[in-house]
Assembly symmetry: C3
């Protein structure tokens, strides 16, 4: 009984970060669907990934987000597990907002992607360096 309650509390402790994770993946899912639609709209059949600059920008929205997903998701969870669930979820929300701005900006023009990119970069960097700092601190504390 006690262990069931404890496990329940432990699981609930990460529900927020888990929901943020799935919301981020849903956004990424939308980007992947957009690439398929852009293939038809701009006449770039598979397996080509170039040939029309408007298609390439839509393609790069998904590709760049994929490139950053491991950095973001792994840092998000290590931050949540070893430090703070709530802070991690908040930074995850900032990342999602940055990625939405990046997606809508890049679809218009390559230059319009910068603000959203910067926002998600800062959120990722805080999660990554925050988790790393916390873990080194824990490792040093454990060795004393």
């Amino acid at each position: 009984m006690a262990s069931t309650i404890q496990e329940g509390i432990h699981m609930q402790a990460h529900i927020l970060v888990a929901i943020i994770t799935l919301a981020a993946l849903l956004l990424y899912f939308v980007m992947a669907i957009e690439v398929g639609r852009a293939r038809g709209r701009f006449g770039v059949p598979a397996p080509a990934i170039s040939g029309h600059v408007d298609f390439e920008r839509v393609f790069r929205v998904q590709a760049n987000t994929l490139e950053w997903l491991p950095l973001f998701l792994v840092s998000l969870w290590l931050f949540a597990i070893y430090w703070s669930d709530l802070v991690a979820a908040g930074l995850g929300l900032v990342w999602i907002i940055g990625r939405i701005l990046y997606m809508t900006g890049y679809a218009k023009a390559a230059e319009a992607r910068s603000l959203g990119f910067l926002i998600q970069l800062v959120a990722t960097a805080v999660l990554l360096l925050g988790a790393l700092g916390r873990l080194i601190w824990l490792a040093v504390a454990a060795s004393h």
Copy 2:
């Protein structure tokens, strides 16, 4: 003693999903090796990723699977942890079958990739939306 047994049971609870995860990664590993072999077969030396349409299809098998791996793996584990290990493992098996059909189909022709792609898409969508629905339900239940 009790904690060792409990930990053992807890670990065994995810063994199935862990094996499915590694089987999916082994399949992805095979796709990556195929790209290296296709470089030689179709005369597309690194760092180029285009130049021969037969190479590009083999390359896109791996690239597209990579694009979907974060969606699949993260959804698989959140579904397993917060809901059902067995159902997650079953859907993971469906995903693997879809990806094998996708790989063998796409290697023949771009059009022949659709069935396998659809199968893995449905498996991923059920895992993602199932996990999200379950987590929102848990969050609402926890706030009561």
Copy 3:
């Protein structure tokens, strides 16, 4: 009190692997920044990902590392959780060294990437097959 100590020990058991994970992601972060710098240096503005062979090699360093990150990170953690934290962390360090050699080699010439690539491939294969073997062994043992 007891559960806090146990949880503390449990967390500390994975601190090494968590630090290796973030170190690997930091290296990948550097590769991503290098792509951005190479865009300016070799005159390949976004969204293009080809056009200058020196840029393409820098781009492929990041892209290939991304292609291997799911294989590496997931195998690393499953090996650590189900088998040995220390051995996983050691193999993770080997992977990082291989990837540094790969990055510096590939930046010079496409041929100079082979040694580093081989080192990270072996580390990944040992982690993946080791974790899979261990899990199958645990599954068989559990069914007896």
